[in-house]
Structure formats: structure tokens, C-alpha cells
């Protein structure tokens, strides 16, 4: 499951964000005040959510890469939209690997979250280094 999450996350950052993350050694500390987070909930044969958090140091660069602008983008609405689309694509690419290629899922629109739910343990985490900044993808199953 964790490998599926890594593969989907790396593929999405590469093809959509034109940035090349590498796996970061896993640690238990995912909470990071200087990150922006979105959640995408999914329902189907398995239900849950994927949370993507990206450090604010790299998010404007990813947004700029995706939208083809010269300068890093700082507009919060754009950054949320970009992060939401990344999370949506990671989610869509992870689910077939964990539930099978014929399962149909309903994905809810990405929504901003301010912090990770304390006490909830993810089923899998992908820790990524993105040009010296951190990104984490957390998969929660109901």
C-alpha cells in the first residue's frame, strides 16, 4: 500500500508539477506548521481520505511549474487549487493499486485542512523530499 502511494505521488509530482521528488527516510513526525494541506475523501469498495501536505517553501514553485509562469506563485487561492489537483490525481492513481483496477470510486472535491487529525493513524504514508523541502502523502482508511 505504501509503495502504491509513493508511486502515485512521485508520478504526479513529476508529470503534473515538473518536479522530481525522492523518497525521504520515514519518520513519525508529519505535523509541520509551515505546510499547506488538503484532503480528498473517497468512497467505494474501500473508503477513506488522502491528505497531501507540502511545505510552503516549495509550493509556489510547484504552482509556477504547473501553470507555466516565470515567477513563483503566491496567490493563496491558486496554491490551494494546485495542491488540490495534485491530491486529486494522487488519490485517483493510488486507489486502483490498493483496491483493484475495476473498482469504481467517488472522489469528493479537495478541501483545505489546517492540521492533521491528532490520534488518527494513517494506513500508509509517503514521505518525500522535494528540492530540499518536504511533502507528505497520508492515506487514511475508514
Amino acid at each position: 500500500m505504501e509503495q502504491a502511494l509513493y508511486q502515485a505521488a512521485i508520478l504526479t509530482f513529476e508529470e503534473l508539477g515538473f518536479i522530481f521528488p525522492i523518497e525521504r527516510p520515514s519518520d513519525d513526525e508529519c505535523e509541520n506548521e509551515e505546510s499547506t494541506r488538503v484532503s480528498v475523501k473517497f468512497n467505494g469498495s474501500v473508503s477513506g481520505e488522502i491528505v497531501l501536505q507540502v511545505e510552503n517553501t516549495i509550493l509556489p514553485t510547484i504552482a509556477s511549474n504547473m501553470l507555466g509562469t516565470e515567477e513563483p506563485l503566491e496567490d493563496e487561492e491558486i496554491l490551494q487549487d494546485v495542491l488540490g489537483e495534485l491530491a486529486n490525481v494522487i488519490c485517483g492513481n493510488t486507489l486502483p493499486s490498493i483496491a483493484g483496477k475495476n473498482e469504481v470510486f467517488r472522489l469528493e472535491p479537495p478541501r483545505k485542512i489546517n492540521k492533521l487529525e491528532a490520534g488518527e493513524k494513517p494506513a500508509a504514508i509517503a514521505h518525500l523530499d522535494v528540492e530540499e523541502s518536504r511533502a507528505d502523502v497520508l492515506l487514511y482508511l475508514n
Binding site: N88, V89, C91, G92, N102
Partner: protein, 138 residues
């Protein structure tokens, strides 16, 4: 001949990415219309001449599948070439969507995949375009 294109996606970022990919594709692109759901798209299709629609599936208000059904049922729009651009991965769902006479591109997509699919569905290919394989160069 330049193509008027309608991009339907609830993400402004994704609409922008698709538009910029089209603009560097080598296709002659005319007017690009953008809609954030199927309902907006139907209004634009009724008011404007569109040669090609690129449609997400999972959208609020009116989803992409409903939009495709409405287009196919409308005699004035039924022949519109449609490319679905979606995270949908279920093979059964993709087969079902293709039965509505649409092409399918899975997100994330490489720019050349979008270009080749558009060439294929529109039948337009000037044969001179080159796209960077791993990055945009706007």
C-alpha cells in the same frame, strides 16, 4: 483551420495546464473557452461554435458524464469530438465512457499524450510540432 476548444474542469489550475499544453502543441488553436462544470459548458456550447471539448468527469453541479450524455442527445452537438481528461482509473468505467464515442486521457498526462489524442480525434495534424517531453517551455 483553427480549432475552437472548450475546456471543462472544476480546477482552474488544470484548465490552465490543458490550455497551455494545447497552445504549444503545434495545433492551430482559435478561441479557448473554459467552464468549471457541465452546466456552464452546455451554455457555452449553445452560444459558441466549438470544435473540440476536453472534459473532466468528477465535477460539482453537473459532472462530465452527464455533460457528455446531454451533448450526445442534442442533434446540434451530438458529433462534437470529446476527450475525457480524468483521474478515473477503473477499467470498467473507462470502457463505459469510451462507449459514448469519446477518447480518454488519464491524469497525470504527458503533454505529448494530449497532443496525440487531440490530433487523433480531430484528424488535424500539421506534422511540424514538437513538444518537450518532460517540461513546459512557455
Amino acid at each position: 483551420m483553427s480549432l475552437n476548444v472548450l475546456i471543462v474542469d472544476d480546477s482552474a489550475a488544470m484548465r490552465s495546464i490543458i490550455q497551455k499544453t494545447l497552445q504549444i502543441s503545434g495545433l492551430e488553436i482559435g478561441h479557448v473557452y473554459q467552464a468549471k462544470n457541465g452546466e456552464e459548458a452546455l451554455v457555452m456550447l449553445e452560444e459558441n461554435w466549438v470544435d473540440l471539448a476536453l472534459v473532466d468527469i468528477n465535477m460539482p453541479v453537473m459532472d462530465g458524464e452527464t455533460l457528455i450524455n446531454r451533448v450526445r442527445e442534442n442533434p446540434d452537438l451530438a458529433e462534437l469530438p470529446i476527450v475525457v481528461v480524468s483521474t478515473e482509473s477503473s477499467e470498467a468505467r473507462i470502457v463505459q465512457l469510451r462507449s459514448k464515442d469519446v477518447e480518454f486521457i488519464h491524469k497525470p498526462f504527458a503533454p505529448e499524450t494530449l497532443r496525440e489524442t487531440v490530433f487523433q480525434i480531430t484528424g488535424v495534424d500539421n506534422g511540424t510540432s514538437t513538444l518537450p517531453s518532460s517540461n513546459f517551455d512557455f
